[in-house]
Every structure is written in structure tokens, then in C-alpha cells.
Assembly symmetry: C2
Homo-oligomer: 208 residues x 2
């Protein structure tokens, strides 16, 4: 590829590092960008460079935010007694989009995944335990474990539940620990549902 | 999406402008970039900003290059008498990868596409005609029309051929105009080949 000008091949290298972007896509994007006005490129470049400098992790919920504490944690209108534990900041966005949840969040930034060397200490679990322990003025009544319904997410939820029950033994008022419901997604075909989902849907059946 | 820090939502906007990148992909990429070292982000940003400043269009073949004339046009070891006409710089890369072609190129930067308001004057056709006309010291013997085998590419090839035959009437030595062979791609199944490809393959059959 000595044919390509260095400016192009270098930018292709940068794009190739992004997840899901292969050599062909990277090349296509870079050739597309050749036709984009310089001011747009400058803007794009400046935004990339400023990304991390202008974001912080909220010291309470560990969500990505503009200020610390984040907008959700500092919103006195929200229910401080419910904490929804999620794996990623994007999960917060998804739950907020439903408009159904008015409590606070805790972002783990991952899930326990021994195959990829991610143990409980690599994600923000101890911060969650400390947070629940420390909530003296405003008690946490419920912790919703909203980790993903896969192996890593289930293991993480189980680990957190064990940690939380260890606290509860010491204090008199146990916080309730819940998990998101599992079952058939809306619009699904029962015929094509996988066995695990279908058996979870049966287990979780409710009176109509 | 007021929940997202501005630094993130702005970068998502920039990614969304790229072809084939939707809102979900843009979001995924930006959250991924949050975990990338700052120096990589700086490098990515600088490369984006430098992209256009450090590339030029070769004044002879209109390919994207580091210098003018480009490495191919200034390579005296290449056959100056054959010009391969392609739609995009990426087509040059594809043909070079075969190692089969040792002539020069002409990059049109598009194809005639009336539905999208791209006429012959929007792409580098007149430059090609001038180039063939002006080649006095080194005659162009053959022009290979390697535009894409689709409607726009075919229309472009036909238009260029017409323009070239208009020149040839004036001069005595006609340059040969050729087109890439059409037929079954290697590894294809005849059973699943489309009708047009199969009839082209029959038309273009050669003695074995």
C-alpha cells in the first residue's frame, strides 16, 4: 500500500483500531473524508481530542458525566432510595429512554468475566457496596441488578447479591435486591424463542 | 439525550455523518473511545485535521497523492502509452493489487449519474480528453475504460468513448479504447449467476 499517501494510510490505521471497523471500512471512511470540508475535519479532530478532558466519572454513580456529581445524582427530584446497577453508561441511556425509572444508578463499567481476566476488583463493585453502606442520611431501600442477562451479567449479579447480603447481616434494615424480569421480548414469536428465554418466561408468569 | 455530556454527544454527531454509521454505532464508538489513551485520541484527531492539507490531486491523473505529479505518473518504468480510466482512487488500489497493470491511470472521481445531478462536467472527463489530445511526445495507444459494470459506469464509459472517437477523427492515429472483461467472477456458481452476468459471459466466451 505504498501507493497511498501517508496522511491517508495513517488515518486508515486510526480508524482500523475502532471496534467493528475493518481495513475496507476504514479505507472507505477515509476516502469519504477527503470530500468533507476542512472545517468539519477540524471540528471532528478537536472533538476527538477533547473527549476525555471534558468528561469525568461521577464520584457517586461512576457514570460518565460533565460534572461531578452527575446530573442524575444531583437531581433532588429523583428517588434516592432506589439504585439501579448497570454494566455500562449506555445502559443508563437505555433505561432513561423508557422514562419508567426515577431512582439513581450505579455504573459498574463491565461485568465479571474470568475468561477475560476481569474480576470483581476490575469493576466498580466495591464502590457500590461502600455507597450502600454509607447511605446513612438517605437509606437505600432497593437495589435493582440490571446487569445483562448473559453469563457474565448473571455472575456479576450473583456476586453483588452475596456482597450485599453480607452487609445486611450487620445492619438491621436489609435493602431489597431485585433483578430485571426475564421473559419473551415484545413482538417475539414463541415458536422461535430460545429454550432458556421460554423457560424463564414460564417461571416468571404472572396472573392476567 | 440531555443526559449525555456535550463532549460525547458532539463527537457522536461527527461520527454519525460518516457513511454507514448510524446513531447506535456512533454511540458505541464514542463510548469505546473513552477508554482509549489520550495520546491515541490526539493522534487520531491530528490525523483527521491533517488529512486534506497533506494530500493533493495529481495534476495528470487526478489520483489522490502526496506529491504532484503522483508516484505512478512520475514513474518512468511504467508504460506511458496505456491509460486505465477508473471512477475512484480506491479502484487504482484494487488494480495495483493485482500487479497485472503497468500503465498509467486516470481517476474520474465519480461516474455520470443524472439522477444525482452528476453530469460529465462534474467529473474529470474533459481532463482525460485533454490529456489524450496533448500526449504528443508519448502517444497514448490504449485507453482501458475500467468504470464499474453498473448503469452509471456503463453510461460513463459510453460517453468517454464517444468523446474519444470525436478526437480520433481529427488525428490519424486512433488510440484503442478497451473495456474490462465482464463475466462470471472466479469461484462463482453458474446456477446462481444473474442473467445479465451469464449472458455477458456467453458473449465474451473465449477459445479454451
Amino acid at each position: 500500500m505504498a501507493l497511498l499517501p501517508k496522511a491517508l494510510s495513517r488515518l486508515i490505521e486510526s480508524f482500523k483500531k475502532l471496534p467493528g471497523v475493518g481495513p475496507k471500512t476504514a479505507q472507505r471512511l477515509v476516502f469519504y473524508l477527503l470530500h468533507v470540508p476542512q472545517e468539519d475535519l477540524d471540528q471532528f479532530g478537536d472533538r476527538l481530542k477533547a473527549l476525555k478532558a471534558s468528561t469525568v466519572l461521577c464520584s457517586i454513580c461512576k457514570n460518565v458525566a460533565e460534572e461531578d456529581p452527575c446530573g442524575i445524582c444531583s437531581d433532588s427530584g429523583r428517588d434516592q432510595s432506589v439504585v439501579c446497577v448497570v454494566e455500562q453508561p449506555t445502559d443508563v441511556l437505555a433505561i432513561e429512554r423508557t422514562g419508567k425509572f426515577k431512582g439513581l444508578y450505579h455504573v459498574l463499567h463491565g461485568a465479571i468475566d474470568p475468561l477475560n481476566n476481569i474480576g470483581p476488583d476490575e469493576i466498580y463493585i466495591s464502590d457500590l457496596i461502600k455507597r450502600v453502606n454509607a447511605s446513612t442520611h438517605q437509606r437505600v431501600n432497593e437495589i435493582i441488578l440490571a446487569t445483562n442477562p448473559n453469563m457474565e451479567g448473571e455472575a456479576t449479579a450473583m456476586y453483588i447479591q452475596k456482597q450485599l447480603s453480607a452487609i445486611s447481616h450487620q445492619s438491621s434494615d436489609k435493602p431489597k435486591v431485585t433483578r430485571l424480569a426475564h421473559g419473551l421480548p415484545m413482538g417475539a414469536d414463541i415458536e422461535y424463542a430460545d429454550d432458556v428465554t421460554l423457560s424463564r418466561a414460564l417461571d416468571g408468569r404472572r396472573e392476567f
